[in-house]
Amino acid sequence: MVEKGGKIRRNLLKGIAVTGIAGMMVLDRNKVKDMLKPITKEDLEDGYIYTINGVEYVISAESPYKTPEELQRLAKEKEADAKRRCMESAKEICKRLGENSPECKLAKKHCQEIKVKWTLARKGVRWAMALDLNRCIGCRRCAYACVQENNIDRTQGIEWIKVLNISREELELIATDLKYTDAPYKERVYIPLACNQCEYPPCTMVCPVRATWKEADGIIVIDSYRCIGCRYCITACPYGARHLNWKPVIVDALTLNPNMHVLGNVPREVHTVEKCIFCIQRTRDGGTTACVEICPVGARAFGNLHDPEGPIMRIIEEYGAFVLKPNAGTKPRFFYYFGPARTPPKDAVNPKSSNWIGNPPRPEEGAPGPNVLPGGEESFNEEKKSDKGM
């Protein structure tokens, strides 16, 4: 006699055996082997390579959108959404100012101009930025240009770039003055701070829904459709670079930037986190970031870190560089350096000279021959002699 339970078990075993044999016959042996291969760290870092028009592009393995088609579909969705929100704003403007007003026409034209791109990361590219602290005057132009370029809501007080004003001698980030009204001063240093685009970003590690990830070219992006607004990443970021939209993002049709990227400056949803994305809509298509373009003293440089003839490698080799909070272990790709020339501050002794710190005034007019050193040639020689004597 066979028990009932035993029969079921035997049938189950039979089924498994049949499935196994059928599987062996149907499936390709190599395919199964490939499936069983463990995923290494190198595989993850490489990502998925796609060749479009002869150029190799990479989709990061961390990205939830694995194929270009998926990203394209997302871009279409977001474009339709952005256009809808823009048209709502345009209708409001038309209602307020009349159908025939130039503002109304302009707003409608802007809405039609919206283009949401889905440009992928190019292979072998790692974006980085370098900032000359000797040249920065802390004028905050970069912060406000960034707001306009990236369609940030003007009513919530979100500015991705913050300019820290700290003491030049101590360089202590804790004693930061954000609300200065006059700059630059001799004793201070001005540090514009945004997302550092770390090599090991702590913010992406804590995301529970894979809404933020590091792209293959090093830009850390956020997909506002996936973000749930839990704010774990805000607490994880050591640089305070992430901001939360507390209320619905206002899309103003008149001041909208129509150049959008699907993971970048497309208008965000309510209760989602946003941050600096190195102007992904400009840089991936060959442009430069808005902050580099607007800087009145040319303190910022943006380029490919892996390019030996690019600006970043040149700056690091020529002038050296440092990063903020190196002990956080995040390996930032935002380099700060003290360059060779400094913008003369307001309290400089002689701002019109090339060496402005404590330089005595130049010789009066009519002084014969070429310019003499401030100390005079003789004293210079004496110093040399005393050096030798030592």
């Binding site: 707001v147 298509d285 040319g298 307001k346 019109k352």
Partner: protein, 207 residues
Amino acid sequence: MMKSVLLATLILATIALAYTPAYPCTYCHTPFLKLNGNVRKAPIHKIDLTVGAHAGLYCSNCHDPKNPMKLITGDIVIPPNLASEKDLMKYNKLCAKCHPEVYADYLVGAHGNSTYVCNGGTAYFVIGYKHSPWWYHVCPEYKNMHTVPGKPCVFCHNPHDPIKPPASIMPLPSDRPAPPKQSAIEYTTTFLLILAAALSIFAYVKK
């Protein structure tokens, strides 16, 4: 009648001659004065090379002494209010003669001030958010853009006084909107709790 017309023409001609921006340098320099460029001060041009970062240079260091309208690189000097950005770009070569390192930085984009151009696109200047300046780029298709040096050297650095003075400071960063008051949150929570309790009791009783 003829006299007054002549007089008016004369006055107009004098004013026009005095305020012509492209006043020919050779008008004074070559035929009559024959300057050799060994000067540091030219009060008529408001140039003083005894002060500033270029103190110690002579006119002839950059200008052709025989014809000061020409630079030593061979380019013709165009008055700044007439020159286009393309013309000013030509003078970068002259700056590079003494500042090769800065020029190399400038070419690769390490001296800052780069911008992008696109096919068939333009960029126009607006005063935008918080009265900050911004270049608004309009392209038919925001693809295949090129990063180029944004401004010529002499756009920021006056060649006769090349130290770049600091620009003005923009307004303060804005504050995040204040969160609701703690008491308001407490009252709301209590009210909602009571409402939920009342609703559940009501539902229980009605069943």
